[in-house]
């Protein structure tokens, strides 16, 4: 593990790099070259990218450099190298969604998220590896190879946005975009020791993003700090007329609220769910984080959510029925082009009943009502992001307690499924390490469209702890 001392450019946070660009102490090309060198160093071990567009990134960096020299400074993302998960459409750049089925797909149009980041001046250095079609949590990709965890390359980076999480942790970009249906931003954020937010459903456009499950899909940033996350989020949040599910809710100034502190903030925990059935290191790290926040004058409140049990089944039913609907044609015409794990899940999803699906969707309404009632008594909820630390690459099961092996897919959604079902925003923030040096994350869950409070809590936590500053040796 390294602590920041004399640092290369690629090791700066996004905001630090932005300040250097604004002050014209470094150029976008300097940042881009530094990041591309780090990609060259790290990729043989990490495999976070499916596609790197080095020449295009250099050309764009030169153009931005000229703009800035001419006085056209666009803001904190101007000239900042970032990466995008490979299920976001990028005009003229192959966008595979981690699949062989879309292996030659070169979009003619950007995703709205891509377009907004480009408009803010960000430089796309590449497209990150992911679990095939985002349907899984390991990023053990049969077509493009597994992504490996920068903290221990024998361990997985979680997923499905595992490439984005690993790329941020390995300092191969200053921030990355992931997508999250059942936990796919928050899980890789936690196990790679970075920060990532799943927005309220409707806050960020899903236009031209290859879907997994329409009713739960979201896109959001993954970065080294909460403040960096808020910068990227500010650029992509807001109504998009091209996305029918996009909400017409004003986007606040997240940066202006970051430093408002947490005195008197009420943090809800559901003790018999949030702190049962998890590895001791995860329990201790998240309980420790709550103590830190209490020390900062926040108040921890025990809350009961009567029907929280059952959420994993609802999650699996919805998250399998919807993708199986989307993939119905390809599953019949090109079944051999899917990896085995995704293929079998798509087959299973065709065999659940409509009543299973609709009862699961009605359960979402029930669970959301219970959380909305609980928000009368609390401002945020905090729980672990997942109940275990990074497992070995290739593992399909995990031991959480008692030596009992459990199926990875069900186990990994224990905590992230709740915001996915309820549509609530939630962010994973680093809060500790296991005895063997693997990162642990905690999940902050907020009210609908109140990402600002989540950022405020996470940022305050990062002002009084240093978990997020630690850097893996890559």
């Amino acid at each position: 593990m390294k602590h920041a001392a004399a640092r290369d450019l690629y090791q700066h946070t996004l905001l630090e790099a932005a300040q250097l660009v604004e002050q014209r102490k470094v150029s976008p090309l300097d940042l881009t070259e530094s990041v591309l060198k780090q990609i060259e160093r790290a990729e043989p071990k990490i495999n976070a990218f499916i596609t790197v567009v080095a020449d295009q990134a250099r050309a764009v960096a030169r153009a931005h450099e000229a703009m800035i020299q001419a006085g056209y400074y666009l803001g904190p993302l101007h000239g900042i190298p970032i990466a995008l998960k490979d299920n976001l459409y990028t005009k003229g750049i192959r966008s595979t969604a981690g699949s062989k089925v879309l292996g030659d797909f070169v979009p003619k149009e950007d995703a709205t998220v891509t377009a907004r980041l480009k408009s803010a001046g960000a430089i796309i250095v590449g497209k990150t590896n992911m679990h095939e079609f985002a349907w899984g949590g390991t990023t053990d990709n049969p077509h493009y190879g597994p992504t490996r965890n920068p903290w221990n390359t024998e361990r997985f980076p979680a997923g499905s946005s595992g490439g984005s999480g690993a790329a941020v942790a390995a300092r191969e970009c200053f921030g990355a975009i992931g997508t999250d249906t059942g936990g796919s931003i928050r899980l890789p954020s936690a196990v790679n020791g970075v920060t990532g937010i799943r927005p309220t459903i409707g806050r960020v456009s899903n236009y031209n993003i290859v879907p997994l499950a329409w009713s739960m899909d979201t896109a959001g940033p993954m970065t080294r700090t909460v403040a960096d996350c808020a910068v990227m989020f500010s650029a992509i949040a807001g109504h998009d007329p091209k996305d029918e599910a996009s909400a017409r809710v004003p986007v606040p100034d997240y940066m202006a609220q970051l430093n408002q502190g947490i005195r008197g903030l009420r943090i809800g925990v559901v003790p018999d769910y949030f702190f049962s059935h998890l590895q001791p290191a995860v329990h201790d790290a998240v309980r420790g984080a709550l103590k830190v926040l209490e020390g900062e004058k926040a108040q921890v409140v025990d809350v009961e959510i009567a029907n929280i049990q059952g959420n994993i089944s609802a999650q699996l039913t919805i998250e399998s029925a919807e993708p199986s609907t989307y993939h119905q044609h390809w599953l019949r015409s090109r079944p051999q082009d899917y990896g085995e794990d995704v293929r079998v899940l798509l087959e299973v999803g065709e065999m659940l009943l409509a009543t299973h699906y609709l009862q699961a969707q009605r359960y979402r309404t029930l669970l959301r009502h219970e959380f909305m009632e609980a928000f009368d008594a609390v401002d945020v909820f905090i729980c672990p992001t997942l109940p275990f630390v990074a497992t070995p690459v290739g593992a399909t099961s995990v031991v959480i307690e008692g030596g009992k092996e459990e199926d990875m897919l069900s186990a990994i959604m224990q905590y992230t499924g709740v915001p996915s079902l309820t549509g609530l925003p939630s962010m994973s923030v680093p809060c500790g390490f296991s005895p063997d040096g693997l990162p642990i994350g905690m999940q902050i869950i907020g009210r609908p469209f109140d990402e600002a409070t989540i950022f405020r809590v996470g940022h305050h936590f990062q002002q009084v702890t240093d978990w997020h500053t630690r850097e893996p040796n890559v």
Binding site: S215, P252, L316, L352, M372, G423, F449
Partner: protein, 71 residues
Amino acid sequence: MSDEITEKEVEVFERLADLALKAERRKAVAGILSVWVPAANELSRKMAEPQHRALLPNVRFTHPAADEVTE
């Protein structure tokens, strides 16, 4: 009734879904369904209880109700 879904039962589902699987694929599908279907049925029983009768499926979150917007 046993929780286990058999490969024979998967064949019936295939017919309903108009999805022809090769015989060797049925074991993996049956294994997952044997875990997921009992859990889904348990959830369905809960949601079928009279106190939940008024709940609508939440298939897509669109514009929020005014009282849910906190900013």
